[in-house]
Amino acid sequence: MTDRPLKVLIAKPGLDGHDRGAKVLARGLRDEGFEVVYTGLRQTPEMVVTAALQEDVDVVGLSILSGAHMTLLPRICRLLREEGMAEVLVTAGGIIPEEDIAALKEAGVAEVFGPGTSIGEVAAFMREHAPQRPG
């Protein structure tokens, strides 16, 4: 691991148009010293994974409020594995019911952050769990 900044992709898969949370998080993580690739609204799983691959990110943070998380998030995790990026840390935030969390974690999402989570908590989790990589 070198002393380079943590690189995080913040994306909104799916069709809901509520990107305030993702933007606030992107800005907050910037202030935590992270390099944040922000790709915004209406991302297909393929777009998220292409961006993650070309940007060589440590973390993919997905914000989703549409209710399609059980379809989109496992698909993103699977595509990441297929592209050789199994070690990338995947986190999710938005409106995700408690009862779905266990299945999402089973599918490869490392943590789900609900409303009211502070940016400090998210940053601390990413710092602690991001993959250790050789420079």
Binding site: E32, Q43, E55, D56, G84
Partner: protein, 333 residues
């Protein structure tokens, strides 16, 4: 390039990246940004294969439409089955080191297309509109077979002209209503342009802005040869084009103009001089890195820091300190 890595890992990355692995290319770019030993090994292996891509710098003020224009040019180049690399640089925070890399948001239609590779770079404290490792990143894309590499700078002011020293062709993107003729008279950014694009041509005032710009540019050389007869450097006269990245207007013409620049200018003396200047800047940068690495190595750090403290407390003058440090760096190698 001081960090340690397993010997051979750079050469392997280079080979896989050249062989078409996008993951290897991406990891290589990360190594380049971190200036690791593996990156140096890979760049040494790749350098002989680089040199055939057209490196196009795209610069101009924030919000002028650079990313949207690059996206439109990429689509145009893809239609002709040309492979396109994009390096999009955004500023790092001088306070936290963090950055928002937001240029990809305009360039998202290429997911799953192996002929397009887009990489954001944070400037990481480097001034001048680029990251300190952008030239090396462009060389890597070049060696991996991309036909055109767009280098999109940080939103620039009037004097961030560094991109012109690493690109073959420099495009300055302006929006209408960004100033009167006096702005076009000022030295700096416009002087390094090979092409000036007045973007957002669908907006009112775009024609007038282009005409004003045209009127204030240096006159065409009489004999068609740029540069004064006595060898003094002379500003070049850029081509002015109207375009709209968003509405896809003027993009075919812009890509064609880039191709003409590439073809016609390759043998011009000032283009060759620019190439030499690029080599000089690259080697000078590596020399500076190596000097720093030698002076702040575990063995030398204490001596180096002591000299700096002597300068800070005015016991030693900075020139004498620099002379002594040059000696230290030589011994330390």
């Amino acid at each position: 390039m001081t960090k340690t890595a397993a010997p051979g890992s750079g050469a392997r990355l280079a080979e896989e990246a050249r062989g078409g692995s996008r993951l290897a290319l991406s990891r290589l770019l990360t190594a380049i940004e971190s200036r690791t030993a593996a990156a140096e090994e890979a760049l040494r292996a790749l350098y002989p294969s680089a040199g055939s891509a057209h490196l196009v710098g795209v610069t101009g003020p924030p919000g002028g439409g650079k990313s949207t224009l690059v996206a439109a040019l990429t689509a145009e180049a893809r239609a002709a089955a040309r492979a396109v690399g994009v390096l999009a640089i955004d500023p790092s925070s001088p306070v936290t080191g963090g950055a928002i890399l937001g240029d990809r948001i305009r360039m998202q239609q290429y997911a799953g297309d192996d002929g397009v590779f887009i990489r954001s770079m944070a400037s990481r404290g480097h001034l001048g509109g680029l990251a300190g490792t952008t030239a090396e990143a462009a060389a890597a894309l070049d060696a991996c077979g991309f036909d055109i590499v767009f280098i999109e700078t940080v939103g620039t002011g009037q004097s961030e002209v560094e991109v012109a020293s690493i690109a073959d062709t420099t495009v300055v993107v302006q929006a209408p209503e960004t100033g009167d003729e006096i702005q076009a008279l000022k030295a700096g950014l416009l002087e390094v342009a090979d092409i000036v694009v007045v973007n957002k041509a669908d907006r009112p005032g775009a024609d007038r802005a282009a005409a004003q710009l045209e009127a204030m540019l240096p006159p065409l050389p009489r004999n068609g040869v740029e540069g004064a007869p006595d060898g003094r450097p002379r500003p070049k006269r850029p081509q002015v084009l109207l375009a709209s990245g968003l509405e896809n207007v003027g993009i075919t013409e812009l890509l064609a103009a880039l191709d003409v620049q590439r073809r016609l200018r390759a043998d011009l003396p000032h283009v060759q001089a620019a190439r030499l200047a690029r080599a000089r800047a690259q080697v000078a940068g590596i020399l500076a890195d190596r000097t720093r690495a030698a002076l702040w190595s575990d063995r030398r750090r204490a001596e180096t820091d002591a000299l700096l403290e002597a300068v800070a407390s005015h016991i030693l003058d900075p020139y004498a300190a620099a002379d002594q440090l040059m000696g230290l760096a030589r011994d330390g190698s």
